[in-house]
């Protein structure tokens, strides 16, 4: 008798608790959507500032070049080989920049823009930078195995981790669309270990 009653109670509980819509855990449902960021990759530079919580926030700035495919013209930044890619379908497997000096020149400009700090629009969105202001630019040198070396005017050991990340990511994406190169930050007080701007490194 008791067992039967217990069974009935269990059944009733099952029926009752199963009713309606319950809350759930957070469920992942596919990858995140990809938005288009203006201007087009050829005509912009990406600066990495920090969000209110210290997270890395990319800012895209128009570099002022019109989007005109001029094959014989070498341009600073990574635009050259992109154009070449477009002209040569199937050439996407080729390496990054064909002329490192052009890239370095563009990267130097980009890093200068980063050092200049967030603009008015950026600040309105709550973006900040952790890098100290500096009158001197950062120089960019090539390293072995496609690496970059940033020669900074300020003491690297005084830089916060976020500031280093800002430098690393901005520099990496300035020279390579995939942001792959390892970046070594070197200041007057010495160099930090090479780092990449991979996801998960903030």
């Amino acid at each position: 008798m008791r067992r039967r009653a217990a069974g009935a109670a269990l059944l009733a509980a099952l029926v009752l608790t199963g009713c309606g819509i319950q809350g759930s855990e957070v469920v992942e449902a596919g990858i995140a959507p990809t938005v288009a960021v203006r201007p087009a990759p050829d005509n912009r530079m990406l600066l990495y500032f920090l969000g209110p919580d210290g997270e890395l926030m990319p800012v895209s700035r128009d570099v002022g070049f019109p989007f005109v495919p001029v094959p014989e013209q070498t341009l600073p930044g990574d635009g050259g080989e992109v154009r070449q890619d477009r002209w040569q379908p199937g050439g996407s497997g080729t390496g990054p920049g064909t002329d490192p000096r052009v890239s370095h020149l563009a990267a130097t400009k980009v890093l200068a823009a980063l050092l200049a700090g967030p603009g008015a629009a950026d600040r309105q969105a709550g973006l900040t930078t952790d890098l100290p202001a500096s009158g001197e630019p950062i120089r960019v040198e090539s390293e072995a195995a496609d690496g970059l070396r940033l020669l900074t005017p300020f003491l690297t050991h005084e830089l916060s981790e976020r500031a280093v990340t800002q430098l690393v990511c901005t520099a990496a994406y300035a020279v390579d669309p995939a942001g792959a190169p390892a970046v070594t930050v070197q200041g007057p007080d010495g160099a930090l270990p090479p780092a990449t701007c991979g996801p998960g490194e903030s």
């Binding site: 059944l11 199963g18 309606g20 809350g23 960021v37 309105q124």
Partner: protein, 527 residues
Amino acid sequence: MKACVHPREEPGTDPADLPGGTAHGRGAGRAGDAEAGGDTGPHRARARLRRPRPFGLRTRMVFAFLLVAAVSCGTTAALTYRAARSAILEQTQNTAVSAFREQVDALALDLPLDETILREMLLNIARQGKPRPWRVYAEYGALRVSSTDRPASSVLTPELKARAHAREGVPHTSFQRVVKGGTPYLTMAVPAVFRTHHEQGTAQPSGLVVYAVMELREDEANIEALVTAARDGALPALAIALIPALLAARGVLRPVRELRRAAQSMGRGRLDTRIHAKGSDELSELARTFNESAAELERSVAELRRAEARARRFASDVSHELRTPLAGMLAVTEVLDEDAGALDSDTARAVRLISAETVKLAVLVEDLMEISRFDARAAELHTDEVDVADCVRKTLISRRWTDPEQVHAALGEGIRARLDPRRFDVVVANLVGNALRHGRPLVTVRAYEDEDGALVVQVSDRGPGIPPEVLPHVFERFYKADPARTRSTGSGLGLAITLENVRLHGGTVRAANHPAGGAVFTVRIPL
């Protein structure tokens, strides 16, 4: 299986015709009493069987059936419901998530984002809610923008936000169902990523996270409808389950009832009761076993009855055969008595002994004949409407019990009863004679009508009473209270004949001891 009772006997056969009422030994249950007569046993048995049973087999079977039906209905409904609910929710979620992702996918942003532009975009997305309207919220840096009046939603859980802002691994779309204030919501979070390059660029978080909050009320209503449908389906199913339940109960109960009726019928003495047993289930097995047992019982009882009948016929035949020579002997006893004086003393004693014993033998044979007739149910009642007081008085006078020191009669006058005068005379004479023989005067005979309208004749004496161990046996034939006294002046059948005569009148006779001493025999005959 089908079953029905087949009494081969005519329904009109009176069960009372069959021997069964035990006259003796019933007194054992009542200290100091020996009762004989009408038996109320079968009536009580019938009353017991008619009692209603709230937790009988039928109720239990119906409950069991309903329980099984309820469990299966419930389980099926629950499983169906769960599956359907999941399907509904999944459909909604999938549609909503992909629609939302599509919407976000189509965005083109300037980084950093401008609040006004962002708001424009959100309003645009909010108009595209699929499958239901949604409210859209966005977080970008310090900006909190929404498609509604309030920049942030309380429905969005910190877990969801944390997941959307997570830096580890590839950014994912995620959703969560939240029930807030009784309303279910689907909340979705998409961190917008962008490609750093057309083809090769990695997906980088843009810093923008867009949330959508969709009410699931409509889905809940759909699910409610499912519950209602499940219930509406289950209740008729239960009601329908009642029909096989009752049928099954009937299928079991009918044979059981037949069996009970048959057993009852057997108990009332109809040993030829059989059950019609068909089929091969356990109940028909039982019915067959019952039939076999009944047949066996009938056979044994018939055997016993035949043996008993033979014994009775023998007793009857013996007394019949004894009677004729006795008739001749009895006719000449007077001759012997008269002439005995003229013989020498030894011969005279012998002759007188023969004469006296002949008379006693004649009485004994007569009594035996009477008992045989009772046993053979050949005793007839020749009733006449008589005055009871007159009757008793005449009995006493004809037996010459007229000495007021010996017998006192306290008779209610004017009681008229339909009696067999000869048998009634035997009853009164036997009781008074018994009292005079075994008790001591004064023997009192009372006759009155009791409150139930029955004639009561009571014979009491002032003797030592009847020993308790003898009481249950006083009406037995040839019962000797004192084994040493092997012969009494009576035949030893007097009280047995009294009992039979009273029974023939439909009455009872009871032997008891009066608290003040002395035996009391009470005859009760319905008027």
